[in-house]
């Protein structure tokens, strides 16, 4: 810890604020990477890194949406369930004979619509977001199983170009999508009035409302965007796996996404957050899972590791917040 804080202090002098803010996270990431690379030859191979990047692409897409939402003081626990539902819906539509891209479009629209409903419940009916989205999460989790009737549904060769395609001959299409989403979300947060309004609402909702900032509209848009991106994650899942099956997405994906965003330094009560942090959080969780695999540590330790990393991140965030 002391070494870590010392390093942070040094970094603050040299690095631009966007990077120095996450110096601690970067250090942990490098440390875990170094240890894994020393113990396993497989870690730094191109195929392994590609594999990791594809695994985390879905998490990154969901986390980007959640970062925007949490910056505005919101939270959505139904993202994983929306992804699960969307991936089932795409599979069933394709099986039912729809064009694959029509199916994708419909699934995205469904995700956005669910996000909008979440937003309406939170803004107009003024239900606490935690409870509202926990309820929709449960409903959608059930609906996702109903859609695929609890069975695995193959989509055959459909969506191969998305799941296994490559851009410029090397970068997987899924990773490109994730990068585009994250960069776009980062730019939105910094350079658009919509993004800055999210900060203002998360930082002080009363002041934002009185200043004439469209609080309700911004929140509705944020929840809708969150739902849309979650559905996109679901589409990526089914494209990658070639089938919709029970247990994909859902609560475990949701927790990973929330963990990644919190590890990235976004405040749970809103008002601060960065996409750089979120991406680092996503990468960190992906690398930890991968290194546990490579080092042949019992898979049950993965959840233990996830929880531990989350706890440490939350504590350091708290300490950092307290030092101001």
């Amino acid at each position: 810890m002391t070494a870590l804080t010392a390093l942070k202090g040094q970094a603050r002098l040299a690095l631009p604020p966007g990077v120095s803010r996450h110096a601690g996270l970067l250090t942990v990431l490098l440390a875990i990477g170094t240890v894994t690379a020393l113990k396993s030859d497989a870690f730094l191979t191109g195929s392994n890194l590609l594999n990791v990047s594809q695994q985390i692409a879905v998490v990154a897409v969901l986390a980007a949406g959640l970062t925007l939402l949490m910056t505005a003081g919101g939270i959505d626990f139904s993202l994983g369930a929306i992804a699960a539902l969307a991936h089932g819906v795409v599979a069933q539509l394709i099986v039912a004979g729809f064009n694959e891209w029509t199916a994708v479009g419909l699934a995205l629209a469904l995700g956005a619509a669910i996000g909008l409903v979440n937003g309406l419940v939170v803004t107009l009916l003024k239900v606490v977001p935690f409870v509202a989205t926990l309820a929709t999460s449960t409903i959608l989790g059930g609906a996702a199983l109903l859609v695929i009737d609890g069975k695995s549904i193959s989509i055959g060769e459909h969506l191969v170009s998305l799941g296994f395609g490559e851009v410029a001959g090397a970068v997987p299409a899924l990773v490109v999508i994730a990068m585009v989403v994250c960069v776009a979300a980062g730019l939105v947060l910094r350079w658009t009035a919509f993004g800055r309004n999210a900060f203002a609402i998360g930082g002080n909702e009363n002041a934002a409302r009185l200043a004439g900032i469209p609080v309700v509209r911004t929140k509705l848009l944020l929840y809708t965007l969150g739902g849309l991106l979650a559905a996109l994650g679901g589409v990526m899942l089914v494209a990658r796996l070639g089938a919709a099956s029970p247990g994909t997405g859902g609560l475990h994906l949701e927790l990973t996404v929330v963990a990644a965003v919190v590890i990235g330094g976004t405040a749970l009560h809103g008002g601060s957050g960065t996409l750089v942090g979120t991406v680092l959080g996503v990468v960190l969780l992906g690398v930890v899972a991968n290194s546990l695999n490579l080092l042949q540590i019992n898979a049950h330790y993965q959840d233990v590791a996830l929880g531990t990393v989350l706890l440490i991140a939350a504590i350091t965030n708290h300490l950092r917040g307290g030092s101001h």
């Binding site: 910094r190 350079w191 658009t192 009035a193 919509f194 993004g195 800055r196 309004n197 900060f199 203002a200 930082g203 002080n204 009363n206 002041a207 934002a208 409302r209 009185l210 200043a211 004439g212 900032i213 469209p214 008002g271 601060s272 101001h324």
Partner: protein, 503 residues
């Protein structure tokens, strides 16, 4: 007798010797001596940043001094912590009230030490002990009342009673009357005098200098981290006290020129809501009209009603003869009405965001652009800061790191952007030092001179006298007087708000 007196004089209950404290490079306390005798009310006054809060936090053990000694009952305290200070009988009652809202007064008084037998709470004894503690101090509050339902003054009274009941012999009161009106403040003053007569030593922090002169036995004036002077309060008057606080800086009095108001701009007709009943008022262009009342009275409803946060039960608001849709924040802003809160951190600023972004907040809310042009925001921020005299050490720090006075100027600058037609200023100098107060008064003068209709909602008589052209006094939500400023004196206003009739 003589010996007794002498003994009292040489036995201070609390003493600070040559205490120094720096934060980063900034010297917050540069060698401060402070002596507190039993049975005295010792006021500490000074402008924001003079070192009052650092001094107080040090007395209570929250900060350790870099050098110098703290003595309690003549004993040197090597490493004072809040817990040790408390055990030694040094308690603080903060400006921010800390009662548990959902519990009764009695439970709050005995929080953490409820009398029990075999793990069962003895409720009868709880009530008895609480009633005894309250009666002993002459506080007229029912022990069974729920703390959250009490008024702010009563909550403070209960907090003080709790600390005294815990054995506090040195009581630090940090702005106990900051948001209270005359009558409520007097209840606090009565309790402070009772405690003094019982031998409790009281450190009294306040921005209300009248109150300080009236209540304190001695006054320590702090300036720039040092003790400027320690005097018996009988030995100086208000101008002398202000001079001691401000040093060589000038104190601005009301400008002699009178304004000539134009046509009616802001009209409230039969406005009712909350504690406000059938309120009629007209503010003309270039005129400052003050609504003065005891704190917490009808004038506090104006902010919520005029911003549209709350829908009026009846009545209407018009700006330039156009009715403003009730209960609609957007409509209120669109009508050219700017309401500036007296509670800047809750309703005005986004603390975590930078000064420049806060300065841009209202403009962004009005113009609804798609993109944020940081270069423009910073350029306009620099201009606004210069114009309103906002000083910061860093280039563009989060607004939460600024002093109260600077925060208030940022608030005013942000909300007064673009020549508003009519505005409501709620307690515009709440928790602000004397120099910033003078700056803010000039800003308000300037606003009226440029032709805005200014409605001032205040519980501070001096401020009303300084700023207003006309004053409307409210009591229990009803207008009791509506007078041009040149026909009332300060004393009349004090009498009116305190409940007497105008003489």
């Amino acid at each position: 007798m003589d010996l007794d007196l002498e003994e009292r004089q040489v036995a201070p209950v609390l003493e600070l010797r040559e205490v120094r404290k720096a934060f980063g490079g900034a010297q917050a306390l540069a060698g401060v001596d402070f002596t507190l005798l039993p049975g005295e009310v010792h006021a500490v006054v000074g402008m924001n940043g003079a070192g009052k809060s650092t001094l107080v936090e040090m007395i209570c053990g929250s900060f350790a001094p870099d050098s110098g000694d703290i003595l309690i009952d003549g004993e040197r305290q090597a490493s004072l912590t809040p817990r040790r200070a408390h055990a030694a009988g040094v308690s603080i009652v903060h400006q921010k009230r800390t009662l548990v809202d959902g519990l009764t007064v009695a439970e709050n008084l005995l929080l953490g030490r409820l009398p029990t037998r075999a793990g069962r709470v003895l409720w009868k004894r709880v009530r008895q002990e609480a009633a005894r503690a309250l009666d002993g101090l002459g506080i007229d509050i029912a022990p069974d009342a729920v703390a959250g339902a009490l008024g702010p003054a009563e909550q403070t009274l209960v907090e003080i009673a709790r600390e005294v009941d815990l054995g506090g012999r040195v009581l630090v009161l940090d702005e106990p009357t900051a948001s209270l009106g005359g009558r409520d403040a007097q209840r606090i003053h009565r309790l402070v005098r009772t405690l003094r007569d019982r031998g409790t030593a009281i450190v009294y922090i306040s921005h209300h200098l009248d109150e300080v002169l009236d209540l304190a036995d001695r006054i320590t004036v702090m300036r720039d981290g040092r003790v400027a002077t320690v005097v018996r309060s009988a030995e100086l008057d208000l101008p002398a006290l202000i001079r001691a606080m401000v040093g060589d800086r000038l104190v601005h009095e009301r400008s002699g020129t009178s304004r000539s108001p134009g046509k009616p701009v802001l009209e409230l007709a039969g406005l009712s809501g909350g504690r406000l009943h059938a309120f009629d008022l007209t503010v003309r262009a270039g005129e400052v009209v003050a609504v003065l009342g005891p704190a917490g009275d009808g004038q506090c409803e104006l902010f919520r009603l005029l911003t549209g946060l709350r829908r009026a039960e009846s009545g209407r608001v018009t700006v330039n003869d156009a009715e403003v849709a009730p209960g609609n924040v957007g409509a209120s802003l669109a009508a050219g009405l700017r309401c500036i809160t007296g509670d800047r951190l809750s309703y005005g600023l986004v603390p975590a965001l930078s000064v420049n972004e806060n300065l841009d907040l209202v403009r962004r809310g009005r113009r609804r652009p798609w993109l944020v042009r940081w270069r423009d925001i910073h350029a306009q921020g620099r201009q606004a800061r210069q114009r309103y005299g906002v000083t910061t050490l860093q280039v563009d720090p989060p607004v939460s790191t600024l002093s109260g006075g600077n925060q208030q100027k940022v608030l005013l600058s942000a909300w007064l952007d673009g020549d508003p037609v009519a505005c409501l200023l709620e307690e515009p100098t709440n928790g602000v030092d004397v120099a910033a107060k003078a700056d803010i008064h000039r800003i308000v003068d300037d606003l009226a001179d440029r032709g805005a209709a200014v409605l001032l909602s205040s519980s501070d008589v001096d401020e009303v006298v300084r700023l207003a052209d006309r004053v409307v006094v409210v009591r229990s939500g009803r207008i009791v007087a509506d007078l041009p400023m040149d026909r009332v004196t300060r004393d009349d206003l004090v009498t009116l708000t305190a409940g007497g009739e105008q003489t």
